[in-house]
Subunit: 262 residues, 3 copies
């Protein structure tokens, strides 16, 4: 029996919210390390993955590796039935994972809900994730990132992100004009939530679809900060770490080529 | 002259909100006891009624019984023009009730609004309400009731409600799976707002349309608690009492027969 | 170079919000006194104008009078990219005003945004504003004004506003009935925010389109109070003064003639 119990359902709700606009169904691969999902979005342009580490569960038992074929929207509907501070337990039969049992328990133990969710067989290979030694990264407030992506979308379809030693800039161009938002590197690098922290081997500048970045930015609910990792002509990686080493949600998106339409 | 004055318009606003999704027009029967409305919903499936007792009005004068044919939505529009702490006075000519005069007065008396609402002649018999000695009742938080009805609606069309000595359970089934929310009976029965109070002669279990229960649940705005009264193969009664013996809003809904579609 | 710097972008955001539902594009006339815009709404029924005085800018430099042809919606989109407490600087070339440069600076100076907005050539004559010695004015809470206009709209298409020595009244009539909201003149005239202040040579009573008054009422965000100025058979003037002599937004609307449809 696969069994995993989280103290609060809120984390799982937020993870589902951060992937459900991109992915309809995907395998959740459960093994000793924890639960991992990775999938192309349904238009096959971006890649999204998340990990929740085994150590972050109150109970985690996984005798055999198992892939659970989850319909994201259905699981999100079930999770909606939990109060944010309910505990949540996921259970499945490792040999024949046709259904997932989901149990919610209220803190005061006066409300117990159990759901059975049908699972699917999803024929999906684990993708080789395009990791690399990124030449530049910027860590910044996730709320600020979300705000900037939303603001620039009112003007253009794509954003050019530039990281250099002075800071990070985000610029766009559209029918009504053009704009550029420039964030200065913080003097003190201690509090990336309120500032901007740059790690750089060499400056980098690439252009991305604002439509996707706006979807990714919703994961700001998961984390106070976001880390953008870039290399020239390479997909950007956008990572939202989840509280206290619980895990992460990561998005990957290839840059637009000059002259190419979104 | 029929005249009834409420100290705060808020109560009447909430009563209208709790019936306007079900009833378009209905007679308000005014007599010595107070004002009563009862009506089938427009699809003739459920029954809704409310009572506001004469004693809960600041002024209540009703020389002759009179039926006021009210278009609910129109009266709700008029009530929208009152601040929640305005007093409201309803007046009508008992002999020829063609219009209702509605007067709002602000607490500081610096704003007086008077409206004339056209009344209708509604040919509607007073229905025999299917009261009985219910075999089981559960009193619980109205907010929790509303939340559960909403949550289960994401998964199914109907809910099976079961009351037994341990508590009350609400279960549904749909394309994506099935679910069951179980509320334990409270040890102390003093605070039904935070707990669940069961009164039971024998256990009961019936299935109802979630569409209607969701509409009824909006009346949670009227009262902190709700009382569900059930007997086997008998319509459920869902009652929201209004503050301090002011009155109540009650809904009645027949159970679904096995194999029947909603 | 024309240059004008406001300490907080919020004022400009609110001004744009108060005109964007009426005007799509208009000349902003900049001279020694400040910035003035006036324009008929796009249906050519009402007139809207605003003024921001030169003295209310931190920096204001205008060597030559210049008309900037602004697409209101586009400028509003750009302003959306500023935090409310960012400073905003507008710049344009007085000789060839093809674009407006807009600069936002955060209080902590860690975020600098610059936008270029394309300007238009708008062939628009400065209109003679129908000012007069109004025979009656009422100053009242702008939130109350907004609420009353909204409330009466649920019932009718037009409102009859009457000012007399006792106060101001607002009445409407529709299919479902009729209504009248009467505000008493305040005993103390010190706090028009909480009361109603009347200045009157002779009583006046005229009828106006609620559709337009509801649009004007959104400018309540700019000011705690609103002043309605009326003369018999003359357009009403509705003025929202902006904080501390910054300027104003004014609307003008002709009364409906008896028997005329809106």
């Amino acid at each position: 029996m696969f069994e995993a119990r989280l103290e609060e359902s809120a984390v799982l709700k937020k993870i589902l919210d951060s992937v459900r606009d991109l992915v309809q169904e995907a395998n959740w691969d459960c093994n000793d390390d924890g639960i991992v999902m990775q999938s192309m979005d349904s238009s096959h342009i971006s890649l999204v993955c998340f990990m929740v580490r085994a150590s972050s569960f109150e109970v985690y038992q996984c005798e055999r590796n198992v892939s659970l074929g989850v319909k994201i929207d259905s699981l999100a509907k079930v999770l909606k039935c939990a109060a944010s501070d309910d505990s949540v337990t996921l259970k499945a039969d490792e040999n024949e994972p046709n259904t997932m049992d989901i149990l919610f328990e209220s803190k005061k133990n006066d409300r117990i809900s159990d759901f059975q969710l049908k699972l699917m067989v999803i024929d999906q290979e684990m993708l080789g994730i395009p990791e690399s030694d990124y030449t530049s990264t910027v860590e910044m407030s996730s709320a600020e990132f979300r705000r900037i992506m939303g603001d620039l979308s009112t003007m253009g379809d794509s954003v050019t992100i530039e990281i250099n030693k002075g800071g990070a800039s985000f610029s766009t161009k559209g029918d009504i004009g053009s704009g550029n938002i420039c964030l200065q590197k913080s003097a003190s690098v201690d509090k990336p939530k309120d500032g901007v922290k740059i790690t750089m081997v060499e400056p980098v500048k690439s252009t991305f679809s604002l439509k996707f970045l706006n979807i990714f930015a919703k994961a700001a609910a998961l984390s106070d900060t976001v880390v953008l990792s870039m290399s020239e002509e390479y997909p950007i990686r956008i990572e939202f770490a989840i509280d206290k080493d619980v895990g992460y949600v990561r998005y990957y998106l290839a840059p637009k080529i000059e002259g190419q339409e979104s």
